[in-house]
Amino acid sequence: MKKLLFTITALLFSMVVSAQDIFDNASLHGSFQTDVQFYRPDAAIGIYDSTIAGRKIGINGFTNLTYTLGKFKAGLRYEALLTPLAGFDPRQEGNGFPNVWVNYNTDFIEITAGNFYEQFGNGLVFRTYEEWTLGYDNSMNGMRVVLFPTKGLTLKGVYGSQRFFWQKYERNNRGLVRGADAEFSFNDAFSKLDEAGLRLSVGASAVSRYQRDADPIYKLPENTGAFAGRVNLGAGNFNFMTEYAYKINDPSAINQFIYSNGQALLSSFSYSQKGLGVMLQLKRVDNFSFKSDRAETANALDINFIPPINRMHAYSLTAKYPYATQPNGEMGMQFQLNYKIPKGTPLGGKYGTGISLNFSQVNDIVRDTLDKEYRGTLGYKSDFFKVSDHIFFRDLNVEVEKRFNSKLKGVIQYMNLLYDIAVIEGHTGEEAVKANLAVADFTYKFNSRNALRVEAQGMWTKQDEGDWAALMAEYTIAPKWFMALSDQYNYGNPDPDKRNHYYTISGGYTHESTRIALTYGRQYEGVVCVGGVCRQVPASSGFTVTISTNF
């Protein structure tokens, strides 16, 4: 009897041990966020009862869940935008599970079925991603296979349809996307390269979109292919990256239904050593919008991503006029310098001084015909190396960062901006904005927990809405509490009735990864960084609550 009991115990124990392997690898994680806004009419900033149209409350919310069991993963995402916050595409109104997926992942193969996000290279021919604060999601619904056949080699294959707000894919209601990518890292295959201080990887991608031709006038290509090749070469402190992409003729609503092929080139060259970083980036884009529906002109159904190569600014006024890529044609360059003046030098002082300089400019490409009535033709011819005199965007900014003592530190920034508002925002006929901006941002630490940050900004321009001034004070008690007061004042608006104050008062509490923030006041559109977090917000007036957590 005792023997039997012992055997059973031993057996059960071995079962427990194997079960333990599974349970040790099992986990359930997720995240949750909801943004609630209560709107009030505010005639001064152009918000009336009719604008609100009875929709006094906007709520966006989502939950992600990921279950992991060893090599398996399964996840889902629930969203409810009822009604969406002001500034979001009205087509986003709805609720449901936009993402449901399963994934199996080993050292040799990774399979995903359902919704997924993926990027080939820099995204010039393929990128799906999701940006909650912008309400953007072009996720694929289909299958993805990733293979790691030998050391250094990664092969990817994807197919599916893209998310289009809440519209379910049905036959021919939008295009299908198929793609493949290969990347080879020489360093992973040949370890001798590392010893020589060299780094080399190459990659190539091909993407095709199938969309039925139902056009009554034109005969449109049903299969459109795009191809890209890329190289990343590094030697010591130097790094060179380039990617070139080519797209077969793809007449679309964006390119005025022209039949010419498109191309895009992105290159960057950088040097970095301790205390110094330099980067130069070049870009050329010609007829390179690529969407899974030719008729779509809004910010949706993009198959590719053409990165705008400009500094993404973090202060409200410096971020007021952000550049957006012109997919029909642009030539851009960007230069960036980061330097830290060492400690103990006259300019470096006791703590060292950080300097960063950034310059970017984007021009139009040169076309041999300016006649825009080229629908249904080959369009124009464009010399690859010629730059048009027409400047879309230019940004020169210098930032100095300094710690004065253990309590006080600060950042000062100057920016000079040229912004073709007619092209970038579609305000036809409006003069390009030429502006000078200055920012001073100082933090004083009372003790190890309490700190006060004061931020002052100014923008001086004769165009658009004229001069602005902004002031903010933020008091924080680490690691949980913050309170902030801010005002943006459009004191130089050419129309005296529009010289408005955009004031806000906000506060928040963070416990571990749970964050609750409340804001009351007027919100100007742009990137706002308050209370330790940055996000993109639309214009509004009223009360906002954000609750975010993860587990």
Binding site: D24, N122, R199, A314, Q336, F482, S513
Partner: protein, 165 residues
């Protein structure tokens, strides 16, 4: 006795159910040099790791990393701690990350997550989002947002992990 044994047998698997391990998900991202990197390889020889998600456009993130950098040498000496900063900048800025990191003189490891794959796998909603991992890669605590001085409290937790107080 038999009853006791039975109860014990029942308890053994239960205890395993509750000791869910939060090992880091396996995601392929990039190093600062553009080489591929598997996030399951974020390790520190059994010592704690601070894993922080940041971006060039996020000022509080930079403040947090600057704060880490100022004391990083001392922290490493005292506890063997490692800081890994994951940039979620997309392809518009990935080329700028290395010059920025070097120009700032940051000494810790920086990784690139240009399409947010690792960010999503870690369920990060907002940045800065900072995780503290113990020597086994298990998440001990996490925090969203950064306020001046928050690094002190985080470091107290690190010290507790390595048994120093």
């Amino acid at each position: 006795m038999k009853k006791l044994l039975f109860i014990l047998l029942l308890l053994v698997p239960m205890s395993h159910l509750f000791s869910q391990e939060s090992q880091l998900p396996k995601v392929n991202i990039k190093t600062l040099n553009g080489q591929s990197f598997n996030t399951a390889d974020i390790k520190n020889d059994g010592k704690p790791i601070i894993l922080s998600f940041w971006a060039l456009w996020c000022k509080p993130c930079q403040k947090e990393l600057d704060a880490f950098n100022e004391v990083y040498e001392d922290w490493q000496k005292e506890t063997g701690l490692k800081v890994v900063a994951v940039s979620i900048d997309d392809s518009r800025s990935t080329a700028k990350v290395a010059p920025h990191v070097k120009g700032k003189g940051w000494e810790f490891e920086v990784l690139l997550d240009p399409n947010g794959d690792f960010k999503r796998a870690m369920n990060v909603n907002m940045i800065p989002h900072t995780f503290l991992l113990d020597g086994n890669g298990k998440i001990v605590s996490q925090h969203t947002a950064y306020f001046d001085g928050a690094e002190q409290e985080l470091y107290q937790k690190v010290k507790k992990l390595v048994g120093k107080k």
